[in-house]
């Protein structure tokens, strides 16, 4: 593709806005966001409720399209792609949702294997890879459990395993500890740190200051803008 450059940052947003209509009035969830994230970064995004953190993550995760502005992933412009093409780009991105979002009637193993199913991996291979990934997040003995049989922390680890299984270079987490008690939260924080140490690119939205402190770069969002950007 002509607009792809060799040394492009992994993620690059230029003047991205996202406007929602609510009862006829426009809501500017994102308001001119410029952001570059290099490969192998560990970025935390903080901000008040309603400041646009989830919206930003959805745009980066290719789950949502910006109302205007440019979004490049690995140098490729994604704003103008079709729904099918955007699905294909999502395979390069692991997404961990605020509410876990495990499919209720599937086992932990099948939940983790789900991204591989649509990538055309055979049943045997995807079960093997999913089992390995569950072991990686410390849930080898829970693979046949369904959502109802897992604790919140375990569900979140299953969700992380699912985001990792397709070997996506970019991992996006929306409040990974938000719904967990402090002990489970600490386990997840440790897991994310391990993943960052392995060289994965992480962008983590969080209210959890302990988690934010572990990141190497911290962004602050206010009313749809990035109002703080500090590295450590």
């Amino acid at each position: 593709m002509s607009d792809r450059t060799v040394d492009a940052p992994l993620v690059s947003l230029r003047g991205v806005t996202k406007v929602y209509e609510r009862e006829g009035a426009p809501v500017r969830a994102l308001d001119g966001v410029d952001l570059e994230v290099a490969a192998e970064s560990y970025v935390a995004v903080t901000g008040a409720s309603g400041s646009g953190k989830s919206t930003l993550l959805h745009v980066i995760g290719c789950l949502d399209t910006p109302s205007s502005g440019s979004y490049r992933l690995l140098g490729e412009e994604l704003a103008s792609l079709s729904a099918d093409e955007r699905s294909l780009r999502r395979r390069r991105i692991g997404f961990v949702f605020q509410a876990f979002h495990l499919a209720p009637r599937m086992t932990a193993l099948d939940n983790v294997a789900l991204p591989l199913r649509y990538a055309g991996v055979s049943l045997r291979d995807r079960r093997a890879r999913a089992a390995a990934m569950l072991a990686r997040v410390g849930l080898a003995d829970r693979s046949m459990h369904t959502r109802a049989e897992l604790s919140g922390g375990q569900q979140q680890r299953v969700a992380i395993a699912r985001a990792l299984v397709a070997k996506a270079p970019l991992l996006l987490c929306d409040e990974p500890t938000g719904n967990l008690d402090s002990k489970s939260g600490a386990e997840i924080v440790a897991l994310l740190e391990e993943l960052a140490a392995e060289g994965r690119t992480l962008i983590v939205v969080t209210h959890d200051l302990a988690l934010a402190a572990r990141a190497r770069r911290r962004l602050r969002m206010t009313d749809g803008r990035i109002t703080g950007d500090e590295a450590s």
């Binding site: 099918d84 979002h101 499919a103 199913r117 397709a166």
Partner: protein
């Protein structure tokens, strides 16, 4: 495909009653289409067989009286046609398949057991082929040597044979026609016959044309029976036969009254049209039933998509393409329709087999599911599946992953 099937099975079990009702809708529709048409097909075949009982695509011509003057000859002349005239006319018409003169006499026929008055037909060997006169096993029809040597042999209608020889076979036995002894060489195999000219074949006797003409001192035939090679060209063939006779007997070939012709293909064609209409009406009735079934399936699939919204949103979020999900949905619909249709087909074949074995088939014909009907049913079912998956597939392709996950 396996994943689609597994998901379908899981979802169907969640709402068994609706799943079964929807499936049975397709089953019922398939059953209706197949069984109704199987009956009309069987009935058409029965009618065809009955009309072929007189002869398949034949015409019968009787010499009559001229109505126009021709080459100095006055109108109102009675025509008399010899066996040679008929055979010569046959040779002159290339589109002809076969032609046979027919002499008819009334006389007493007697065996040791019974005696009765019947019509005896003097005919050529091809008459058997023209008029669907099949000998029952062990016998034969009049053959070429019988005709050439004027043998006194006779072929009996099945009912006539039974009257004359109530015990045992008639073949090889002797009957007397008038005072003359004849050898029975064959008996008609029982057949359906819906029309005749001068008695059904089951009650007639058939002898060589030459034998009968000599025995009764006849020169002129009563009628002749013929058929075109191509049933579509029967009218042309008839005109050619009349023209050939006109040339030999010197009458105006355009004189429609000189020879009166009964072209049975006309009524066969009419029957064909009537049955075509019948098939179409019945087929539409079946298709409407099937469409109602398809609506049920469409509804079931739509509910399934609605129930699985979050799951489908998740699938999109982890990289499923909308086209992939639509394809899965179509496969699932096809699977459902296929299962319902297969069940309907099994029931239809069973029902048709049972209906085809009963004593009523003499009036209804033997219902049958021809290959073309099976293929058509499969195509209609596929169309139903495509139609039934259209609406739910649209719902899937419009899913937005973020919105879908939110509920």
């Amino acid at each position: 495909m396996r994943d689609a099937a597994r998901t379908l099975w899981r979802e169907l079990r969640r709402d068994r009653a609706r799943a079964i009702v929807s499936l049975l809708g397709i089953t019922w529709g398939t059953l209706a289409i197949l069984v109704l048409l199987a009956f009309t097909v069987g009935m058409e075949e029965l009618f065809d067989e009955r009309s072929a009982g007189l002869g398949d695509g034949i015409a019968i011509a009787w010499p009559s009286r001229t109505s126009k003057s021709w080459q100095g000859l006055p109108a109102g002349r009675s025509l008399a046609i010899t066996r040679d005239d008929v055979l010569a006319a046959g040779n002159a018409v290339p589109v002809l398949d076969a032609i046979s003169p027919e002499f008819r006499v009334q006389d007493r026929i007697a065996s040791a057991d019974a005696a009765l008055r019947v019509s005896i037909c003097g005919v050529e060997p091809v008459f058997a082929r023209l008029r669907t006169l099949r000998p029952s096993p062990g016998g034969r029809f009049v053959d070429a040597r019988d005709v050439a040597e004027r043998r006194r042999v006779v072929f009996l209608g099945d009912r006539l044979a039974l009257r004359l020889f109530p015990r045992g076979s008639a073949v090889g036995r002797e009957v007397r026609i008038g005072r003359t002894p004849y050898l029975v060489v064959g008996v008609l195999e029982q057949k359906e016959q819906d029309s005749d000219y001068g008695g059904k074949d089951e009650g007639l006797a058939f002898a060589p044309s030459t034998t009968l003409a000599a025995a009764y001192g006849r020169r002129f035939v009563n009628d002749c029976v013929f058929r075109a090679r191509d049933p579509e060209r029967q009218a042309e063939c008839t005109a050619a036969v009349v023209a050939a006779l006109a040339a030999r007997l010197r009458f105006d070939p355009a004189d429609r009254q000189a020879v009166s012709v009964w072209d049975t293909t006309e009524q066969q064609r009419m029957l064909g049209w009537i049955f075509l209409g019948f098939h179409v009406v019945v087929g539409i009735a079946g298709a409407v039933t099937l469409m109602a079934g398809a609506v049920g399936i469409a509804h079931l699939m739509y509910l399934m998509v609605r129930r699985r919204t979050a799951e489908l949103g998740l699938a999109l979020a982890v990289g499923a393409r909308p086209a992939q999900l639509c394809r899965e949905l179509r496969a699932q619909t096809l699977l459902l329709v296929g299962a319902g249709g297969a069940l309907g087909a099994v029931l239809a074949f069973a029902l048709v087999a049972i209906a085809g074995a009963g004593p009523w088939t003499a009036e209804t014909g033997v219902p049958r599911i021809p290959l073309a009907l099976g293929v058509a049913a499969v195509l209609v079912l596929c169309a139903c599946a495509v139609a039934a998956s259209a609406l739910p597939a649209r719902a899937v392709s419009r899913l937005d992953p973020v919105m879908a996950l939110r509920n």
